[in-house]
């Protein structure tokens, strides 16, 4: 552990809320929404690894690896859905996919 845990938490919080701000702002573009979700998950991984280094426990690293596997499956499904939606309407604008709106 080379820096206090608080600094890691502040860095992870900055990354997470940057991703959240991007997600709220880019809500019209599906690809950029997925990119911002990647940023947020990466910040969560940083917290897990920092905790693992702080207490010398391997579980944090394992959680980071689990998050990575989760992210890969999430991205593959989400990008397949983006390809599917783009095939239907020739756009990735989320505002145009509102047929289920009552």
């Amino acid at each position: 552990m080379i820096v206090p845990l608080e600094h890691i938490l502040v860095l992870a919080g900055l990354l997470f809320f940057l991703g959240m701000a991007g997600l709220l702002t880019w809500r019209a573009n599906m690809i950029m929404m997925l990119v911002c979700i990647e940023v947020m998950l990466n910040a969560v991984m940083l917290v897990a690894v920092g905790g693992s280094a702080r207490w010398g426990n391997a579980d944090g690293q394992l959680f980071a690896i689990f998050i990575m596997a989760l992210t890969s499956s999430e991205v593959s499904l989400a990008l397949a859905m983006v390809v599917y939606l783009h095939r239907r309407k020739r756009t990735v604008d989320t505002d145009l996919f509102s047929e289920l709106k009552g």
């Binding site: 206090p4 991703g19 701000a21 859905m81």
Partner: protein
């Protein structure tokens, strides 16, 4: 020395992330995000997690970001002039909300007394693997099932909805048309 490297890498990560989420061009955003992920991998390496650092480079920067690039290039989305980028006024409410959250987090963590810097504990990969496959074996099985479901779902979504035309040898006129295209 390692503290200085950590702070430099933290600044690199933050700047690359800010550039990634504010970039109008999706391909440039992905490349900035790859930069951020590389810096993050070195941070993981500094925190005695070389396995996670290697997976970060191989899986995140190597596989997932390349998947993003493939989809962006395949769908021909790299045109910011098509008007999906937000106006700068749309940044204000989200930045306000994120700023409030960041400020509260910083105040809470700083108001507590700083934890002492304990000596680094090196976790050998053997121990990590033992924990992974002995105590979290069920989680490994669940992750493998989840990856299988994602594979099946991606195949189902990627399948063409219209039935593909039956395979038959191209007729003479089609062959001629194909030759003209070439």
């Amino acid at each position: 020395m390692e503290q200085i490297i950590f702070y430099i890498l933290a600044i690199v990560t933050l700047i690359a992330t800010v550039l990634a989420i504010s970039e109008k061009h999706p391909v440039h955003a992905i490349l900035y995000l790859v930069t951020s992920l590389f810096a993050m991998a070195v941070i993981f390496y500094l925190f005695m997690a070389p396995l996670v650092a290697a997976f970060e480079v191989i899986l995140y920067a190597g596989a997932i970001m390349v998947l993003f690039l493939f989809v962006i290039m395949m769908l021909d989305l790299g045109h910011p002039e098509k008007g999906l980028s937000p106006h700068w006024k749309e940044w204000l409410p989200s930045l306000l909300l994120a700023g409030i959250s960041i400020a509260s987090l910083t105040i809470v963590t700083v108001s507590r007394h700083a934890s002492s810097i304990v000596s680094p504990v090196s976790l050998p990969i053997r121990e990590v693997a033992k924990r992974l496959f002995q105590e979290h074996g069920l989680a490994v099985e669940l992750i493998s099932l989840q990856l299988l479901f994602a594979l099946v779902g991606a195949l189902y979504l990627g399948k063409q909805s219209s039935p593909s035309p039956p395979l038959r040898p191209p007729s003479a006129s089609e062959r001629r048309a194909g030759g003209e295209e070439k």
